[in-house]
Assembly symmetry: C2
Homo-oligomer: 406 residues x 2
C-alpha cells in the first residue's frame, strides 16, 4: 500500500479493462501507474497486441510497454458463465474501459446500457476511431487513420511534399491520454455526487487537442495551417531548427531555438560559437536581417556544429542560455543515465523478456515515480481476481478452468 | 452550476494559474473545461503568449485557443502588496500551476517551499523543459526542444532524411496533458487523505509517453527505432499509407490502412476499387506477395483514388470495411459540419475577434461537451477575483488599482 507517490493516488479504484492494441491499453496503464487495480480482461486467445513485434520463437517487448502493472483475467465472454462472471465484476468496478471495434462490446452483451444498469455509479469509457454521431462512426480505425482524419498529417511533412505521419502514435496513445484525464475527472466528481458517467472519446476528435494551435491560421486568415518541414514551425525566426553535428549519424543533429522576442539570444549564440566579433553586425543583428541572410547564418552555425558531438554542442549552447537540444533517439533515451537516476527509465525483471528497461509514467510526484511491474502473462491472475473480487474459492475456480470458462 | 457534462466534474476547485505560452495554459484550460475555476495570474504586461500571431493592428486567435474559460487577474507580483495578495489566494487555492523558466517562480517568492508552507494541502505543479536532476535542468526550452530531447524528432521524417518536427506541439500540449492527468490524480487522493503534492513534469520526459512503442526496437534488437517517412510505420504491410485523390491539393490524399492480421481487408479493398477479379490472384493474395509487387499494388490503388475526391474515397473504402480516412486539414476540420453538430467545434462570440469557431475538450461526457467561453482580456477579472476569493470591497480594489498593484 503506497502512501506517497503516484501509486497512492487511485488506491482502491477497480478498473475493468476490455481494451486491446494501444489506445485503450495506454489509457489504463496510466491509471495502473496512478494506483488503480487494473484487471485486463482478455478472451482466451489474448489481446491481439500480445503478438505485435513478436516472432514464433521470441516474445517482443511491445505488449509489455503498454500493459505494465496490470492483472490479466482470461475469460470466455461468449459463454454464458463467463459473461455472468464479468457482470458480477462490473457490479464492483469503479471504471469500465473498452476500445473494441464499433458495436463489438454491445454484441458481447456488455454495452454501456447493460453495464450502467448493473452499476449506475460506474464510469464507462469508450474509445473509437470516430465520434458517436459522426458519419464515420461505424468505421474501423487504427492510429494512422486517427492522425489523417484529425489533421495531424496535414501539418506534418515537407512544405511542398506529401502529408506525413509523425513517428509518435498520437492517434492511439494521444487519445488514450485524454480519456485517462476524463476518467479521473469523472471519478473526482463521483466522490462528491455518486454519479456514474458515459465517456466517449474518438481518435479524430482527440487529435484536435494536439493541433489546437493549427486552428489560428484558419480562424485568422481563412487558410489551413501548412506543414513546415524539418523545423515544423513558421520560418519567421532565424536561426531555427536542426543543424548537423560531428558523427554524421541519422540523429546527429542539434535543435537550436533562440527566442524571437529575446534579441540577447543571438548575441549569446555568437559568443557560444566563437564569433563574438559579429555581435552588432547589421547583417545579422535582427531577426529580419538573419532571415534575409539565411544562407550565411546557417553556414556559420554549421561550421561550428559539425565540429562538435551533439551532446557537447547541447551543453555549450544550453549553458550559454539559448534553448537547444540534441536529437536523441530511442536507444539513447533508453540508456540515458539521468533518465535512470531520476526513475523515469526503470529496469524490470520480465519472466520471459529477461532484464529490460522501460519508461514509467513520466510525471514525478513528490520526488517519486511509479514502479514498473511487467505486463501480465495471459490469464496470469484469473484465479486471484475471481477470488478477490467475487470471493470464489479454489474448487469453483478449478471448475471454471475445467469448463474452459477461464 | 453544471450538474452534468464535463463542467460539473471539478466544481468548486480553485486553480492559481501562473502559466504562459502553451504547455502550462493547455493544461489549465483542460481543467477549466472540466469545471475548475482557473484564475490566470498575469503580470501587468500579460502572458507573452497574448502577442503570438497578433499584429499591432489585429489580435490573433492563438492566445484564445489556449486560454478559454479562464479568468484573468493582472497583478504586479514584484510589489510586496501584490505578492501578499497572491499568497492569500494560495491559502485558498486547490491547485497552483506554473511553467516559467527554471528558477523564475522561486525568484518571485512563490516557489513550492513557500506556497506549500502556506497551504500544505495544495497541489503544486511545475512544468519545465528538463526534469529536476537532469544535467539540463537549468536549460531553457520551447516545444521543439522538448521534441528533439525526448525522441519525437528521431522517429519523424523520411527514412533517409533528417529528423523532423511534427506539426503537432507535443512538447507543449503533450506535456500539459500528462500534467493535467497527474493533477487530477493528486486531487482525487486529496479528497481521501487531505494530502497536498508537488508534481514535476518535463517536456523531455513527457515525450517518452508519446513514443512508448518506439522503445520496442531498442529493447528487442538493441537498435533505435527509425523514422519511416510518409506512412510512419514499418513497411511490413501492403497496401498501407497515403494515396493521392482527385483535386491534387496539398492534402488531397486518403490514408488506407488494411489490417495485416485480417486477410479479408484486401479482398474487400479489391471489391471497393472495382477489381474483384483479382481476389485470390497469387500475385497479391498475401501481405508478402503484395510487398513483393508493391509498385503494381500502388498503381492499381492510385488509378482508383485519383478518380475520387478524398471524402468520397473515404466513404466508399470505409463502408467496405477497411480502415481509411481522408487527410483533413485544419480549415476543413474547423468547418466540419459533424464536428459542429457534435459539439466538438463550437462557435464563440469573442469581444475582439468576433464570431469565431474553436475546438473544445474533445471527450464527450454523457453526450455533452464543455461550452467554450472566450479567453479573458488582460486583467478582466482582477476585481471580481479579489472580491470573491479574498472578500475585498470596491474601495480596497480601487486603492490597489490606484497603486498599480492590480
Amino acid at each position: 500500500m503506497h502512501t506517497s507517490g503516484p501509486q497512492s493516488c487511485l488506491s482502491g479504484i477497480r478498473i475493468l479493462d476490455l481494451t486491446q492494441f494501444e489506445a485503450g491499453p495506454a489509457c489504463t496503464e496510466v491509471l495502473a501507474w496512478l494506483g488503480a487495480t487494473v484487471v485486463k480482461v482478455e478472451n482466451p486467445s489474448g489481446d491481439p497486441g500480445r503478438k505485435l513485434g513478436s516472432t514464433p520463437s521470441r516474445e517482443g517487448s511491445w505488449f509489455n510497454l503498454f500493459n505494465a502493472n496490470k492483472q490479466s483475467l482470461a475469460i470466455d465472454l461468449k459463454r454464458p458463465a463467463g459473461l455472468e462472471l464479468l457482470k458480477e465484476m462490473a457490479r464492483q468496478a469503479d471504471v469500465f474501459v473498452e476500445n473494441l471495434a464499433p458495436g463489438a462490446i454491445e454484441r458481447l452483451g456488455l454495452g454501456p446500457d447493460v453495464v450502467r444498469a448493473i452499476n449506475p455509479s460506474i464510469v464507462y469509457a469508450q474509445l473509437k476511431g470516430f465520434g458517436v454521431g459522426s458519419p464515420y462512426e461505424r468505421s474501423l480505425s487504427f492510429d494512422p487513420i486517427g492522425q489523417a482524419s484529425g489533421g495531424v498529417m496535414s501539418v506534418t511533412g515537407e512544405r511542398d511534399g506529401m502529408p506525413m505521419k509523425p513517428g509518435t502514435t498520437l492517434g492511439d496513445t494521444g487519445t488514450g491520454m485524454l480519456l485517462a484525464t476524463s476518467i479521473l475527472a469523472a471519478l473526482y466528481r463521483r466522490v462528491h455526487t455518486g454519479q456514474g458517467e458515459l465517456l466517449q472519446a474518438s481518435m479524430q476528435d482527440a487529435m484536435l487537442q494536439y493541433i489546437r494551435g493549427a486552428f489560428a491560421d484558419p480562424i485568422d486568415k481563412g487558410v489551413p495551417e501548412m506543414r513546415n518541414g524539418v523545423p515544423g514551425t513558421n520560418l519567421v525566426n532565424m536561426p531555427i531548427g536542426l543543424y548537423p553535428c560531428k558523427g554524421g549519424g541519422p540523429n546527429d543533429y542539434i535543435c537550436i531555438y533562440p527566442s524571437r522576442v529575446n534579441p540577447e539570444h543571438w548575441d549569446r549564440l555568437l559568443k557560444a560559437i566563437g564569433r563574438p566579433e559579429l555581435i552588432g553586425d547589421e547583417r545579422y543583428s535582427t531577426v529580419e536581417a538573419r532571415v534575409a541572410n539565411k544562407a550565411d547564418v546557417n553556414a556559420m552555425l554549421e561550421a561550428w556544429t559539425t565540429r562538435h558531438e551533439k551532446r557537447e554542442a547541447m551543453r555549450l549552447i544550453g549553458e550559454a542560455g539559448i534553448p537547444a537540444s540534441a536529437v536523441f533517439d530511442s536507444l539513447e533515451l533508453l540508456n540515458d543515465p539521468s533518465m535512470a537516476a531520476r526513475g523515469i527509465m526503470q529496469t524490470v525483471e520480465h519472466p520471459r523478456l529477461g532484464t529490460i528497461k522501460m519508461p514509467t509514467w513520466p510525471v514525478v510526484f513528490g520526488g517519486e515515480t511509479a514502479s514498473v511491474e511487467p505486463a501480465p502473462a495471459l490469464g496470469e491472475h484469473s484465479g486471484d481476481v475471481l477470488s478477490s473480487w467475487l470471493g470464489l474459492d479454489a474448487t469453483e475456480i478449478e471448475r471454471l478452468r475445467g469448463e474452459r470458462v477461464i
